[in-house]
């Protein structure tokens, strides 16, 4: 086992544990943690089982094991980013809908208050 392997396995394991701890503290939802847990497990696996990494590299037709790692690493990051952008768009739409609903309800409430308590402030000065 080389030093590089040890460091890779250690960092990947640390990432996985950090993600699990965040989920335990309710700072991260299970949904968002899934991608990261899977990625760190994969990294730990490949760090120990170099035979698998070599086999994947052959299958891909790549020359070096490092290319395989970078390929999957970058692919993973891209997928995560697109996934977040989709989530962000959905959130934006939800926030917009809620803000609109809040504005409509607030006006209804003001009208109801005005109608329910005649003469309090309505009699004076309006319009």
């Amino acid at each position: 086992m080389t030093r590089a392997q040890l460091i890779a396995a250690f960092v990947a394991a640390l990432l996985g544990l950090a993600v699990l701890e965040l989920v335990r503290r309710r700072k991260l939802s299970e949904e968002f943690s899934l991608l990261w847990v899977v990625a760190s497990l994969g990294a730990v696996l490949l760090a120990f089982w170099t035979g698998l990494l070599t086999a994947i590299t052959r299958a891909l037709g790549a020359l070096y094991e490092t290319s395989t790692i970078f390929f999957f690493g970058i692919l993973f990051v891209l997928v995560v980013l697109v996934y977040y952008a989709v989530k962000l768009t959905a959130l934006t739409q939800e926030v917009r809908r809620l803000a609109q609903e809040a504005a409509l309800l607030r006006l209804q409430l003001e009208e109801a208050e005005r109608a329910g308590r005649p003469g309090r402030e309505d009699a004076g000065g309006r319009e």
Binding site: T92, A99, Q100, A103, L104, R106, E111, E127
Partner: protein, 239 residues
Amino acid sequence: MRVLLVVPAFNEEVSLPATLAELAREAPGLDVLVVDDGSADRTAAVARAAGVPVLVLPVNLGVGAALQTGFRYALERGYDAAVQFDADGQHDPCDLPPLLAPLAAGDCDLAIGSRFVGRAGGYRAPWARRAGMRLFSALTSLAVGRRLSDTTSGLRAYGRRVMRLCLEYFPQDFPDAPLLIWLARQGVRWTEVPAHMRPRRGGTSFYTFGKSLYYPYKTLLASLIAMLRTGAGRGGSAT
């Protein structure tokens, strides 16, 4: 026909009172609703002082989303049509009757006040904006197979059916070319009516410099996507 004038306002405390006063004077039969789009100034207070109902958005959402809020209100309260009217005094209330006439007659679902049709005139934008307006008008005309002279006009009258469509899809910032292309694909019939444009009374335009770079990109992309969207293409182009 019950008509609601929807006035989206973002930091318009300076120009809003005069606009509302003019509307009360020149268009007394029409209900007015101000949508305060998360203003930091006294926009909502100024509108309330004019005796007009105000929808206060807790955050700034953009003109399109503010207008959409007005449509929700209009649909809930059973209005037959809603008119988009600028807070800054650029629109002239005298354009309202000709704008509403084709809608009331049932000739169309959407009436657009155009600065480039018929007698109206006197409007001159900076050259870059003029070039952009021409580009998007050409693009939209091509996409819907019908000539459209003014896609960026902010003076429009929407019928109930169009308002309902606008709840499904509506650009958050500027309801321009992409919206019109999409509406045309849904089979919405529209007419263009001559309209005047006046210089704004105060405050600053929504169209700032930073947005002037992003806007053409966004509108082009959204227009292309609106063309690709599947759906009933009755109003769409045959070419």
